[in-house]
Symmetry: C2
Subunit: 340 residues, 2 copies
């Protein structure tokens, strides 16, 4: 690895002249010198040492992608395909803008703060922050710009990008109502009251029912484990019920998949015997049969909005600009809803 010093020696100029050429401060260097230095740079494939830059400058060019490990000790958040999609999209933006992505799996706020200090991170993006307490403390204590995806607090200045979850719950339910359903259940993981995301989706559900003059039936609120396992349990419960709904809105595609799978295995014909609407339009929703009608969110756009806010916060050197973007949602109609 060749250094500025060696280039300077070979060109017979000072180190800072080479530095000026690299940074294209051509006003400060004669064209002849520029050319000479340039050719040596190319000859040796000079690449700057970012550690040295980071040390002297105020910027490290590193963006931290914060991945909480609040679910399982041995699982990475990247096992979740939605997170893969989000992190992948973010990384492409990071690279495109000349930054570098570092992964930071963490359990405690302190780990993030250490990490940020270790690398003089320019900014961070937090993904899938289900734990409200830790997220709140992180927002309070971070010393560098931070954007939180999928979570917003009203009592503190913060940057975030969320999805219009209320609308999502609303249009999912409304779609079923328009197809003639009046007995509509709601399926979600068992921490409905703890998660504003889930809670908003539920509020949207209630709102749509109300518009049709319907009362929610408490027996049709299915709280269970998350993902497929919970869905299978709910499917099994549905199969046992006398007074069952004709349709279910699920707050997760994976849970909806579990419901569908369980019932098909029990011999039901879907969507005839039960209509299901999922949430997120994640990959399996189009792989299963019947392909799932679901609430779509644009994950790439989400990444873009988050990154743009982060960029702005970095430029303004303001760790909490208090910027906010709410993504729209839309229905993707496939085959898991029957018209009554």
């Amino acid at each position: 690895m060749i250094t500025l010093k060696e280039i300077a020696a070979e060109a017979g100029v000072s180190v800072m002249t080479v530095s000026n050429v690299i940074h294209k401060n051509y006003a400060r260097v004669s064209p002849a010198t520029v050319e000479k230095v340039q050719s040596i740079i190319e000859k040796y494939h000079y690449v700057p040492n970012m550690a040295a830059r980071s040390l002297v400058g105020k910027s490290s060019s590193i963006i931290a992608l914060l991945l909480p490990m609040w679910y399982a000790d041995t699982d990475s958040l990247l096992f979740n395909p939605y997170v893969g999609m989000l992190v992948g999209s973010l990384d492409m933006l990071v690279r495109k803008h000349g930054y570098y992505s570092m992964l930071c799996s963490f359990r405690e706020v302190e780990q993030v703060l250490s990490f940020q200090g270790n690398w003089q991170i320019d900014g961070s993006i937090l993904v899938l922050p289900h734990r409200e307490d830790i997220t709140h403390r992180l927002v309070e204590q971070t010393q560098t710009p931070l954007v939180v995806i999928d979570r917003r607090f009203d009592d503190i200045a913060m940057n975030s990008v969320t999805v219009d979850d209320q609308k999502g719950g609303y249009i999912a339910t409304k779609h079923l109502l328009e197809r003639g359903h009046r007995r509509i259940g709601f399926a979600c993981p068992g921490y409905l009251t703890m998660s504003s995301v889930l809670n908003d989706r539920h509020i949207g559900y209630l709102k749509a029912l109300k518009e049709y003059g319907l009362e929610p039936n408490p027996r049709w609120l299915f709280e269970n484990y998350q993902q497929q396992e919970g869905g299978r349990q709910i499917g099994a419960a549905l199969a046992q019920m006398d007074d069952r709904p004709t349709a279910v809105v699920s707050t997760e595609d994976y849970m909806a998949c579990g419901i569908i799978q369980q019932l098909i295995q029990a011999g039901w014909s879907l969507p005839r015997d039960l209509s299901v609407v999922g949430f997120d339009d994640s990959m399996p929703s189009q792989l299963i049969t019947p392909a799932m009608t679901t609430v779509h969110q644009d994950v790439r756009l989400k990444a873009e909005k988050a990154f743009n806010i982060l960029l702005e916060a970095i430029k303004n050197d303001d760790r909490r600009l208090n910027r906010f973007y709410q993504l729209d949602v839309s229905m993707v109609l496939r085959d898991s809803v029957a018209t009554l």
Copy 2:
């Protein structure tokens, strides 16, 4: 952010004594001094500046996770759930061993080399390297330890972890043969001859057929687009055939999902009308109905083996130790194969 210098000043000792305390060189510092310095470190939550360390030492503590962008210009490799699983597993190991993960999406070898120089990367792991030419050049030209996952070259020293693909193709086919099938097709993406991975799976398939005295039927070699789309095309083709197989081995779960989905939509009953075996045991294989019988590979173990080899290469300061590990595969029996 407090620095060594400031801690030294407050403790009334030299910078290098503080450094010795941090590195636990207690033999070189009196217990009283250790305690005094320790308390100041804790009081101010000192964290080392990794850029400075990287600059002075030989190690940056950064591991690069190399993600080729040879598929689509706008897609990250992390959109692939298998890659998410792998990268997530790797990141957990990286963190556990005191390293840091940087993502490096790239298209050309030169980008990787620059990246490695920029950050004085300690080591790199390359994931999903379908492009043989670029991978080969990368192995030749890398200046730092590198482990390649899923690809091996015989003409050059390299570190790699692969899967016993030949065995995979063999046991998948054998399973069908044991269940009474004699008319068995093979479905794969259209670059069978270019990919040693796919080719090995095909060799295993042929070997199993041969054991049963069967000739492969060229009409039952289905090459198509990759993933679900190709599977759907193959499903459509199968639906049209007169002389069709009773079972298909697919080199990809996603492709197998497409086949299954297409045929169910065409009114077929699976596995009665067609048996399907997938490959990889990726997440959707258990979400669909019928749940898919597939060849399982242990992605976590794969990550572990790759990381261990990398660690060894780093310790030995040898960029091409020429270490190699081949993962075993096994059948996961679910519901997509009928007994004839």
